[in-house]
């Protein structure tokens, strides 16, 4: 049996959560004060995911030299740096609109990276 210690992000309380696991499965969650903590802990220990945001260079725009981007959905936490490395070679051409895909299937996650800023 394995125990994972987490800090709940549900509210400012920041409960210290203790998750007991066996064979990758959650046996119990303790330390939480509410249901939110339980849900967070189970997700965080089995499939932690994050949205990654960054910027990429844009050419042909009068106003911008870089535009901000994000993963369209959260991606596995352990893919964050792979995602960043993939973005290293991305360059886009104006015009770019919010929501435009700048990189498909980043780090093999099946998730696209999309623009969060407009560059005309």
């Amino acid at each position: 049996m394995e125990t994972r210690e987490l800090t709940c992000i549900g509210c400012p309380m920041g409960c210290a959560l203790s998750v007991e696991m066996e064979d990758g499965k959650v046996i119990s969650v303790s330390g939480n004060t509410c249901q939110q903590g339980d849900i967070y802990a189970r997700k965080e220990v089995t499939n932690p995911t994050r949205i990654v945001t960054s910027i990429v260079p844009v050419s042909g725009s009068k106003e911008e030299i870089m535009i901000s981007v994000k993963t369209a959905h959260d991606i596995p936490k352990d893919k964050i740096f792979e995602c960043m490395k993939d973005l290293k070679s991305v360059k886009v051409q104006a015009p770019v609109h919010i929501g435009d895909v700048v990189l498909e299937n980043v780090a093999g996650t099946g998730v696209d990276v999309i623009a969060t800023k407009e560059a005309l």
Binding site: S54, I55, F81, M84, K85, L87, K88
Partner: protein, 479 residues
């Protein structure tokens, strides 16, 4: 072959350069830093002392009083701010009153005009925030305040306009005496000159010792300061000193010409000639002593702190003389307080020595005036709009706190002695000197520098030259 080489572009070197530029001589100034006013001249109390402090009969006393008297005309000629706001030395203990009399008598002997002892009631009226402990004060109406950087820069620019060459990033590494002249080695090349003037501040000993067997020592004496926001700028209207007590010397509290309030300095002899770091102990001492002569000083309005080094000579006297075993090599050493006040007179004194040696006659085309930066903030609405119509960059504010426009910043980059760093721009325009301390404007100023100056880009734009660059690379390059 140069006639005169001046080592150091601080207030002494620049005053000497300007005064020497009256004569048809080939003159250069060698400065180890990237700009004028990078050493002692930069970080001090920014006051023009009346002259009652220095011992009777000393060169310090003489040059202080002379320098002070020259300041009105100089400020007018050079288009720089100078305010004769007067000073008080405050006595907070009846027992020490003799100290005031001593200072008064010394001042009278030194030739300080208008001195008088002011009693408590009058003092309170003239300066309502004076300490409740105050019993009397020595009032010196001729004391004033100046922006040391603008004074320094203005003298240097005026010298440059009159033909003096300035070489920056040029530390002197070696000086060789060659028959009738000197050979000065710097990383930028070798300079040959008939006369050398050593105005190297805390390094005056190093330079002196390159040519003389009679070794000199200059001790860097650190002074730490707090600068308060303009919101506190009217707390006192005069420069307030404390009469030294058994508890030691106090700190001064003074308005600055730009409307801030300055408190300090401490006094600590150190070894490192570049040791301009502030210390917890020093800053705490300033805070503690700030209340000795002035009450309710709002220390929460501090926007920055800094330290400067005085170039202290063990004799506590200005050493301005030809070095005995090095003919035509003139020391201008030990220029500590009241050096800023004395610098115009130091310039005249040294130029006279050079004039006598060379037998030069003043150039008919010497131009004694210099025009400062265009100052939109001092213009009327109509004048300002006229200016913006001519150059729209004067309509774009870059520094929000001090309301400095793009036009002013660009102008500093193209003057006779151009700014080449953010500190250079800051000292010339005040961009970044306000309450946000360059948080908002530094990226903008960096962009302007990299756009306007051919050999500066975003990667080498610096705070103050050398390796003080802001940007170390690009996003993701290390991934």
């Amino acid at each position: 072959m140069y006639d005169v080489i001046i080592i150091g572009a601080g207030v002494s070197g620049s005053a000497i350069a300007r005064e020497c530029s009256r004569y048809p001589l080939k003159i250069a100034v060698l400065e180890k830093c990237e700009d004028v006013c990078c050493g002692t001249s930069k970080a001090n109390s920014a006051i023009i002392h009346a002259g009652y402090d220095a011992k009777e009969g000393t060169l310090m006393a003489k040059l202080n009083v002379e320098g002070n008297a020259m300041m009105d005309e100089l400020a007018k000629d050079l288009d720089i701010p100078f305010k004769r706001i007067g000073s008080f030395v405050v006595c907070t203990d009846e027992e020490n009153r003799d100290g005031l009399t001593t200072l008064y008598n010394r001042g009278v002997t030194n030739g300080v005009p208008g001195l008088r002892i002011v009693e408590r009631d009058e003092l309170k009226e003239m300066e309502p925030n004076i300490s409740d402990e105050a019993v009397a004060a020595l009032y010196a109406p001729s004391a004033g305040i100046v922006c040391p950087f603008e004074l320094n820069l203005a003298m240097a620019e005026n010298a440059a306009e009159n033909g003096v060459e300035f070489y920056f990033d040029s530390p002197v590494e070696e000086i060789k005496k060659i028959e009738d002249h000197y050979e000065i080695h710097t990383p930028k090349g070798i300079f040959n000159t008939k006369y050398v003037i050593n105005a190297a501040g805390v390094y005056a000993d190093t330079i002196h010792n390159m040519v003389s067997e009679d070794k000199m020592e200059i001790i860097p004496r650190k002074g730490e300061y707090y600068l308060l926001d303009k919101s506190a700028g009217k707390h006192v209207a005069h420069t307030i000193f404390q009469l030294p007590t058994k508890m030691g010397k106090g700190v001064l509290v003074t308005p600055t010409v730009h409307g801030n309030m300055l408190v300090g300095p401490t006094s600590m002899d150190i070894e490192d000639k570049e040791g301009v770091n502030t210390t917890r102990k020093g800053l705490d001492e300033v805070a503690m002593k700030s209340s000795m002569a002035v009450k309710n000083l709002p220390m929460r309005d501090v926007i920055t702190s800094f330290a400067g080094l005085r170039a202290h000579h063990p004799d506590h006297e200005f050493i301005i003389e030809e070095v005995k075993d090095a003919p035509n090599f003139i020391d201008v050493a030990g220029i500590e307080s009241p050096g800023l006040s004395s610098c115009p007179a130091i310039g005249v004194m040294v130029a006279k020595m050079i004039q006598e040696k060379t037998g030069s006659v003043e150039k008919p085309d010497f131009k004694k005036t210099r025009k400062g930066l265009i100052k939109p903030s001092e213009m009327t609405l109509e004048e300002r709009n006229e200016l913006i119509k001519k150059d729209p960059r004067y309509g774009t504010i870059i520094c929000r706190c001090e309301m400095v426009t793009e036009g002013e910043i660009v102008e500093t980059l193209h003057r006779v002695i151009p700014a080449r760093s953010l500190d250079g721009v800051k000292r010339r325009t005040r961009a970044g000197m306000g309450r946000c301390q360059a948080g908002f404007c530094s990226p903008r100023v960096m962009e302007i520098l990299s756009n306007e100056v051919s050999d500066i880009d975003m990667y080498n734009v610096s705070k103050s030259g050398g390796h003080s660059n802001f940007i170390v690379g690009n996003d993701k390059e290390d991934l």
